[in-house]
């Protein structure tokens, strides 16, 4: 079906998407918690900033990432000085781009599931002697978990499809930053690449479909109050 080289592209896509979502999960959870529970000035602005990658042209997001992660940029300079690494033209850069693009979806899903946790249950836990951390660990987290998982799967599907920000930020380097969408784009530019396009597009649709179905099933089970774990 797929050649080893094409499997490599699929594997790279899964790696980039997986790392992107798992690495941004703690940040997404923190942001979702702030937006769901905390009151502070500038909350509307933070909400808008988190959602920005959803509406800004991906090429703009990619360009902004390029400015930030360039060797002289604010984040790139810091990475260079402290760790001697750069994400430019590396798969880690592709993961950064995917993470930024998936973040709004993650935050949204987690925020909704946190808002759905009945705060009266948390109050009950407090009166039973549980401090804030134990209440979070034993009540808030398990009750919001289905939404978190659904968000992770959805964010992962989004990360798999990331194109504009990735190609602008880390270019189209085969074996390093060339994920499925980028490989399809490259094949389209090549005369006689139609067969390859067809196979890669098939793999892409299949992966996305599985991720969406998993996300939907989990969300529905959560909606019925069933336990997913």
């Amino acid at each position: 079906m797929l050649t080893p080289e094409e499997w490599g592209i699929v594997a790279l896509s899964l790696k980039v998407g997986g790392v992107a979502v798992l690495a941004s999960l703690p940040l997404a959870f923190g942001l979702a918690w702030l937006l769901a529970r905390a009151r502070f000035p500038g909350k509307v602005l933070l909400d808008a900033l988190v959602h920005l990658p959803l509406v800004v042209p991906p090429v703009v997001t990619g360009w902004l990432l390029l400015l930030a992660f360039a060797p002289a940029g604010p984040i790139g300079g810091w990475l260079q000085n402290w760790f001697g690494v750069s994400v430019l033209f590396r798969w880690t850069g592709a993961a950064v781009a995917s993470a930024v693009m998936a973040l709004p979806l993650l935050v949204r899903a987690i925020r909704l599931s946190l808002e759905a946790v009945d705060e009266r249950l948390e109050q009950a836990a407090r009166t039973l002697g549980a401090g804030r951390w134990r209440t979070f660990r034993t009540i808030t987290l398990p009750l919001s978990l289905p939404g978190v998982i659904a968000g992770v799967v959805l964010g992962f599907a989004r990360a798999l499809g990331e194109f504009g920000a990735t190609i602008t930020f880390v270019s189209n380097v085969p074996g390093e930053t060339q994920t499925l969408p980028l490989a399809i784009y490259a094949a389209l530019q090549t005369p006689g690449g139609e067969a390859l396009v067809l196979r890669l597009a098939g793999a892409s649709v299949l992966l996305s479909l599985v991720a969406l179905i998993v996300s939907e099933v989990i969300a529905r089970r959560a909606g019925r109050g069933l336990h997913v774990l």
């Binding site: 249950l121 009166t127 039973l128 002697g129 401090g131 034993t138 336990h227």
Partner: protein
């Protein structure tokens, strides 16, 4: 003195003012719906902060606006039975009962409490499969097993049919007489108030 409460809280247009000085046994906080009875319980439990005043239970200060004292809810050791059972839906009855269970001095005996409340047959059930009366009994058991220094009962008899009311009422009388804990109970039913209360405070 078991409950020594003198609190005031402004909420928009309305103000909740309450003063309770009671001896041992069960004190009933009685008044019409919307008078702020539940808010008073929340202030005693530490879930709501009064603007001014103090809350002392059994001689220990839990809140004192003048002294800047405001114990966290988890430090007050209130056995709070809310108006709704508030059982944790992702835990079975057994885990719910043991959520606040403390090992150590004066710990309540689990088997004894399970027996007293007739919960033995419910331990492996999920909260959503319980009837209203069963859920309320579990909530009472969970509060007692947290080894509280006092009990707060918010309308423990509401939304129960006659047989269940009688059962829970008898249970509260047993708790009052056997556990010797100070109990503060909210109700809007005068019959309940007169039958159970050693002292009735109107709000």
């Amino acid at each position: 003195m078991s409950f020594d409460v003198d609190v005031a809280l402004r909420r928009g247009e309305a103000a909740i003012v309450c003063r309770i000085e009671s001896g041992d046994g069960l004190t009933v906080l009685f008044g019409p719906s919307g008078a702020g009875k539940t808010s008073v319980l929340n202030m005693v439990a530490g879930l709501l902060t009064p603007d001014i005043g103090h809350v002392r239970v059994g001689g220990e200060a839990l809140f004192d606006a003048a002294a800047g004292l405001d114990l966290l809810p988890e430090r007050r050791r209130a056995g709070y039975v809310f108006q709704e059972p508030r059982l944790f839906p992702h835990q079975r009855v057994r885990a719910n009962l043991l959520y606040g269970w403390r090992v150590g001095e004066g710990a309540v005996d689990v088997d004894e409490t399970v027996g007293l409340l007739g919960l033995a047959g419910l331990l492996d059930r999920w909260p959503r499969s319980l009837s209203g009366g069963e859920a309320r009994r579990v909530a009472i058991g969970r509060a007692i097993l947290s080894n509280p220094r006092f009990l707060l009962l918010d309308e423990p008899l509401s939304s129960l049919d006659r047989a269940r009311r009688e059962e829970i009422m008898a249970l509260i009388e047993r708790l009052r007489d056997e556990l010797a804990l100070p109990i503060l109970m909210v109700t809007h039913d005068r019959g309940e108030a007169e039958r159970l209360g050693s002292r009735i405070v109107e709000i």
